[in-house]
Amino acid sequence: MPDVIMPRLSDTMEEGELSRWMKQVGDEIHKGDVLAEIETDKATMDLEAFDNGVLEQLLVVAGTLVPIGAPVARIGDGSNIVTDGARPAAPVATAAPVATTAPVATTAPAADAAAPAALPAASAPAPVAVAPTAPTAPEAPAATPTPTGELRTSPLARKIGREHGIDLHTIAGTGPQGRITRTDVDTAILAQASAASVPEPVAAAAAPTAVSADSVTVPVSRIRAVTARRLTESQAVPHFFLTSVVNVERLVAFRTDVNASLETVGSKVSLNDLFVRACAVVLRAHPEVNASWSDGVILRHNHVNVGVAVATDDGLLVPVVADADQKSLAAIATETRALAGLARTGSLSLAQMSGGTFTISNLGMFGIDSFTAVLNPPEAGILAIGAATEVPQVRDGQLVSVPMVKITLTVDHRVLDGAVAAAFLRDLTQLLEEPLRIVL
């Protein structure tokens, strides 16, 4: 029976953290049972069984980062139960398949020497039907994961291990298919030098560890790691900022009216929902802003999908209100609230975070007067919304207090120039100041 492997759960996923096992060795498994929870770069998802049988062996301990396609567990008929085989403990000591009928002599070499499977037959006029691609000899086909217990090391790692008296069986490999490479041995040598004992290999360290009297290292979640990478990417984008001050007197009053009328249905609209709807309406009128830079061309999107930045304990998530320009204010309010809830429990689906064409980030509730947001690639714009502040104004010779909100648009300069972005922001400001039009 095939091993259970780490599935690809999103386009950007490269590895997943097996955060929790939901079944134990010896448990009867039915197709569709949830075996484990996997934390990817975007969300926490269930790993379901594709086979019936008995969970015979866990190949990784909870908290381990596992590359896509690598085996994490084995389901069998129950005749080969191994209770302590999980990496990153010593992988070979618990070698499982010894007693099975697996032909040992043919498994290991086949994986490395396998021929490129996808090459078209030389005699067939293949180009007519299929575009050929320059082949690269694959190191090992994905379909043949390493049998557990087989020690995979590079020759160099073996040599260095020999020279330093390191038992490679005590090391966890971080290379492809768990191969022990020079880095792993070097790490082990360093660890051996600094402490008498061999260190525990990387697991799901969650607690901060002191590295000196002055600082501690805090391991980061997948979400934070992805946020860091994506925001770093976006810093390479040439961008500029435009700020506008919006008189929200009527917007606040409008919200009160709307909520009063919605009271009977038990729904409520926030200022943020009004911003989402207003942005969507103005984006529809300004297709040049509802766009992305893509490899030398500008993509104008047919749908207006507005992302809403949500702070969670694990980091920043941006659920997307799809087709926000087609939805009523009440629908947006309901949907945004549901999405934010899912975000906070880490259960947003990939689809709920994909396809955004514009993002809104609102720090008004934290009393922030104004700020600039970092672009959310590949979107061309993001709107940063500050808090409503009472500002004195002279009206008909009288001093009145007016609530004002500063909004700052960050723009990808490759997609938009200042004047075009300014026109968008001007229209948005006008719409927010005449809120009745938001629902038209």
Binding site: L119, P120, A131, A134, E139
Partner: protein, 339 residues
């Protein structure tokens, strides 16, 4: 005050070949050129421009469209002490002359117990990417690199084109001189004065510590491009330009991989039984204990090269293919930019 130190000039690969042929024709009256349309028409790729005019039809011979015939004639002249330089329009047409090259030129010195030597040079371009279709776009150099008795050189720069062609003409054994259609207009600095390369020596054209890319001819250009691109990502890539496919400089390859622990071969020929297979085996045999990952090869798709532009492009190995495999060997996750 001015001092005359004009030690190099920037010229094209084509011009370097042309100037070298001219210099050798002037230096040694035993040198002559023969090939299809190399005289009046000045060569399909204009390598022999101006030479008929300056050296006359006894030194620059227009041959009929009969590769076996004129290669055989040049071989006979070489046996009698001349130093012929044959141009075959592309490596694809050398198949018609392959009996003369493999069964005669390569064998005579040893079969006649050293009584004759064959100072013959056969110049020919290989390479695809010009929409010349499957029969005119092949990279068959491995056919010749396989044969003891031949030398096969494949310069990647104008400077090497000059130094290796000079060395090939002065060598007493038959030398296959591999050019490449996409390199003829490439520019580079070429030292003035006489330059004679040592045939059989590879060059480390860029030093690095993380991984070695081994390539030759056009491939070296791409390898350098990728190496510099990956430098920006903090990867230190060494590039070995083979320059000579036979004899193969196994020492330089092994010394580089011993240092870096990782190797990728970038080749324009097909993967199976290609140049990369030989390099890979050389590394496995020479520096097994220093390898931190399997040697990988990036080669052309195993199909007769398509004519359609998009398909041709897809079938030929390019910089993105190479960068992807380099990252895989170094176990670095691929970024979205590569897609």
């Amino acid at each position: 005050m001015t001092t005359e130190v004009a030690t190099t000039r920037t010229i094209t690969y084509r011009q370097a070949l042309n100037e070298t042929l001219r210099a050798e024709l002037e230096r040694d009256e035993k040198v002559f050129l023969v090939g299809e349309e190399i005289g009046v028409f000045e060569g399909s790729y204009k390598i022999t421009a101006g030479l008929l005019e300056d050296f006359g039809p006894d030194r620059v011979l227009d041959a009929p469209i009969a590769e076996e015939g004129f290669v055989g004639a040049a071989l006979g002249a070489a046996m009698l002490g001349m130093r012929p330089v044959v141009e075959i329009m592309t490596i694809n047409f050398s198949l018609i002359a392959i009996d003369q090259i493999v069964n005669h030129a390569a064998k005579m010195r040893s079969m006649f117990a050293g009584q004759v030597s064959i100072p013959l040079v056969i110049r020919m371009p290989g390479g695809g990417g010009q929409q010349l279709a499957a029969t005119h776009s092949q990279n068959l150099e491995v056919w010749y690199a396989h044969i003891p008795g031949l030398k096969v050189v494949a310069p990647s720069t104008p400077a090497d084109a000059k130094a290796l062609l000079t060395a090939a003409i002065r060598d007493d054994d038959p030398v296959i001189f591999l050019e490449n259609l996409s390199l003829y207009s490439a520019k580079g600095e070429v030292p003035d004065g006489e330059q004679v390369a040592e045939i059989g020596k590879a060059a480390v054209v860029k030093t690095g510590t993380d991984l070695t890319i081994v390539s030759y001819s056009r491939g070296t250009t791409t390898a350098l491009e990728v190496a510099h691109q990956l430098e920006a990502e903090g990867l230190s890539i060494e590039v070995v330009d083979l320059r000579s496919l036979r004899p193969l400089d196994r020492d330089t390859i092994c010394a580089s991989v011993k240092k870096t622990g990782h190797a990728v071969v970038f080749e324009d020929d097909w993967l199976s039984y290609g140049i990369g297979a030989e390099i890979s085996a050389t590394i496995g045999e020479g520096v097994f204990d220093f390898l931190d990952a399997p040697v990988r090869r990036v080669a052309a798709a195993e199909v007769p090269l398509p004519y359609a532009k998009a398909l041709e492009k897809a079938a030929l190995p390019n910089a993105a293919d190479l960068a992807k495999v380099v990252r895989e060997v170094l176990n670095i996750s691929t970024t979205a930019n590569d897609k």
